[in-house]
Amino acid sequence: MATTTLTPQAAAYRRSWILEWLTTVDHKKIGIMYIANSFFFFFLAGILALVMRSELAVPGLQFLDDRTYNEAFTMHGTIMIFLFVVPVLAGFANYIVPLQLGAPDMAFPRINALSFWLLPVGGLMIMSGYLFGGAAAEGWTGYTPLSSAYSPGPGTDLWLIGLILVGTASILGSVNFIATIFKMRAPGMTLFRMPIFVWTVLVTMTLILLATPVLTAGLIALFIDRNYGGSFFEPSAGGNPILWQHIFWFFGHPEVYIVILPAMGVVSEVLPVFSRKPLFGYRAFVFATVGIGLLSFSVWAHHMFTTGVVFLPFFSFMTALIAVPTGVKMFNWIATLFRGSISLTTPMLFALGFISMFLIGGISGVMLAEPPIDFHLQDTYFVVAHLHYVFFGGSVMGVFAALYYWFPKMFGRRLNETLGKTHFWLMLIGFNLAFFPMHMLGIQGMPRRVADYSPDAGWTLLNIISTVGAFTIAISILPLMLNVVATFINGERVGDDPWEGNTLEWATSSPPPPYNFDTLPPIRSERPVFDLRHKHDREQLAPALTAESEASS
């Protein structure tokens, strides 16, 4: 049997538990720290969301003043995007990608540690404005000139510096991932035998590498405008505030795919395993992923239809076009389920939640791609609903699918299924209660980012429903927290491959040793572990094929 044997290295020396975690360059420990750090920020930003929903439940200002409300949604958006969704998926990628490639670690373990440690520093800096007279309050998009001449105070400067640090972390990470994926694959693993999750991470990291430096440059330019008399975006000095929007969205739209593609990768790992079928149309899926990545750089100005200064037909056309590869993926997922053998485990439920909720975000996205409709819906709650169906119904569902799916690999214990399913159903119901009414609010004309609205507007009932939904989501986190704690204390030990996985991370122990693999199975397809498990039952593998060969003989 063709196996590749790696020589295990002895642990060099023993360190205290704390020192070990603070100084580790092991991709698995760093991955876990990424995930833990991201959930810390998820809770902070989630509390801000509850604060906002409480304020908006009924007309009038009950809990906050305008300024505090504006800080809350600015911090909520910034933290959720830059310190939760992106890093938590990077954390899973950190843990899983080297394992799925059959590699002992990332290509640059120390850079890996650096890109992690920049995150909590940058994140705390972004929020530290609260200690210095008020956090940034210009929205996560930080439109100029509101964010320059009209927002004095250190909050916005801290926000800028923090984002520059977080962006730098992303860029370093992306270089590391690309090098790892191209140079560290196990013998036999060609590009088209890579697990689909690795493919989505590869495209994501390429997007980060191309898009994030643009944002970082823009942030630095804005910092110069604010502090050193620059006039990049300052209209009174001849600068153009629209330039900021171009820079921001040239990054910001690829960012949407940076956030959604790895989650799509997770779903494309989970659906085949729990349907006991290969992913339908693996190659088409890869091309669709690459296609989305390419197109994502040509649609940025659809965030700027109402500025009156962009060429609408081009950006409308490209935006409509991006629905095609996305649709292909949707059909591939459904075809994977079709005629499968489906088990509704918790990770599977979250993956199915992803495809059914992301669908709604996709449809509302096509509606927004038509400029005349966008003229009505832009900057209303419809957009808030749309982006939450993509980020929450999509990415965050994917994050939880990944958590329940890979938790046994990381800790050797499976999260409790009953608590997990309670979490899923509460979250699904709360999510739809919170965000579906926002479509209607937006269509009726409620602008986003308002601290208050008129009692005569007729928006009160929908806002109350939305607030109830937001608190239902918060309650759904309780079974998750209980589940994690209970599993660490007394979780079910489930061995190395509890789900009958397809990819190489299931070919090593749970948790894997520091060097990842003692031996690797031969890699002859994108499902080496599946091939290994079923090498003796060829007739089960391909009954049709066997029947054909018997008939012909």
Partner: protein, 355 residues
């Protein structure tokens, strides 16, 4: 030309199907407000088309997902057929969405051309957005701004824009500080109000209102602290009523009192510059009328309002600088008051003592 001939028929179908769907789906909450301009009616039609296609896709795909989950639940350990793909099916489901989105693109681009068409406007209003309200300045075409009607709102007292129905209206959208957005839900349109550098023309928005009525609007681009208070109202009326309305508001507009203050009255000088008053303490004689000589050096709107315990005592007219105005303030009983600019109450405030 054939397209034009075919459209009314399609519209009839949509008009019949539209209300049915409205009744079916959540009391119409998923449809925009009644469109009140000719442009908005086109957008509404497009919206209904896109919405119906979206609904078909939604029910089709969710149906397929739910069907697969129920029909193909795991019943035994037998491995299902390991199907890796099917080229023909994959080509089909790439082609069909392509055709659908191209169809939507063409329709929306045609609608865009219609609603963006320029015409010779009957009324042109220069709309200036500022933190945090609007100024509506009616341009009557005689190049003499003195005769023009202009109204500036405050967060507590938003402005009204009277407009005639059935005639093309043009709004010229200017900002004196940050980016705002002029949004009227019943017109199904918004356009950003951007402080462009010199050399770039301001955005314009054209529409023709079809029905008389009162339509609320507000700023849609986040613009800072009191963004949610940037509301306004559009009062649409028959052209004859509009002319009467315009004459009335022009006549009712008290010109800024100037020239001779009443003999013996104290004159207090107050200057506004860079969104700040030059003083935060004013002393006036109690029990006697006095004059505030207000010099607004900013190119944006300011005024002086006097309050005691949160109650309004005096509100001066809002003026956009650079200009000066003399406010005739009635006699105040002895005591301590606050004064502020009603447009910028958080930045421009101070104490006024009468004794």
């Amino acid at each position: 030309m054939r397209r034009l001939a075919a459209r009314p028929r399609l519209r009839t179908i949509i008009r019949t199907a539209g209300p049915l769907l409205v009744m079916l789906l959540l009391g119409g909450c998923l449809f925009p407000p009644t469109p009140e301009t000719t442009q908005a009616k086109d957008v509404f039609t497009l919206y209904v088309v896109v919405f119906i296609m979206g609904a078909v896709v939604f029910f089709g795909v969710e149906g397929a997902i739910v069907y697969s989950i129920i029909r193909y639940r795991r019943r035994d350990d037998r491995l299902p057929d390991q199907l890796h793909g099917h080229t023909l099916v994959e080509i089909l489901w790439t082609a069909i969405p392509t055709v659908i989105v191209m169809f939507l693109f063409v329709w929306s681009t045609l609608t865009l051309t219609t609603i963006d068409a320029k015409s010779d406007p009957a009324v042109t209003v220069e709309v200036t957005g500022f933190q945090w309200q609007w100024t509506f300045h009616y341009l009557d075409g005689d190049n003499d701004p003195k005769n023009d009607y202009s109204v500036t709102g405050t967060p507590a007292n938003p402005p009204v824009m009277g407009l005639p129905i059935g005639e093309p209206i043009r709004l010229i959208l200017k900002s004196s500080d940050v980016i705002h957005s002029f949004f009227v839900p019943h017109f199904l349109v918004k356009r950003d109000v951007i402080p462009f550098p010199n050399g770039i023309n301001p955005n314009e928005l054209e529409f023709t209102i079809s029905d008389p009525g009162t339509y609320g609007g507000q700023c849609a681009e986040f613009c800072g602290e009191l963004h949610s208070k940037m509301t306004f109202t559009i009062q649409a009326m028959a052209p004859a009523d509009y002319q009467k309305w315009l004459a009335d508001v022009k006549a009712g507009k008290t010109p800024p009192p100037s020239g001779t203050p009443p003999p013996g009255a104290a004159v207090i000088n107050l200057t506004a510059q860079n969104v700040a008053f030059d003083t935060s303490n004013i002393q006036v004689p109690a029990g006697k009328p006095f004059v505030i000589h207000f010099d607004n050096k900013d190119a944006i709107a300011h005024n002086v309002g006097i309050y005691q315990g949160g109650k309004e005592v005096f509100t001066g007219q809002i003026v956009t600088g650079p200009t000066t105005v003399d406010y005739q303030v009635p006699a105040l009983p002895a005591g301590s008051y606050t004064f502020q600019c009603d447009v910028h109450p958080s930045q421009m405030t101070g104490t006024l003592v009468a004794k």
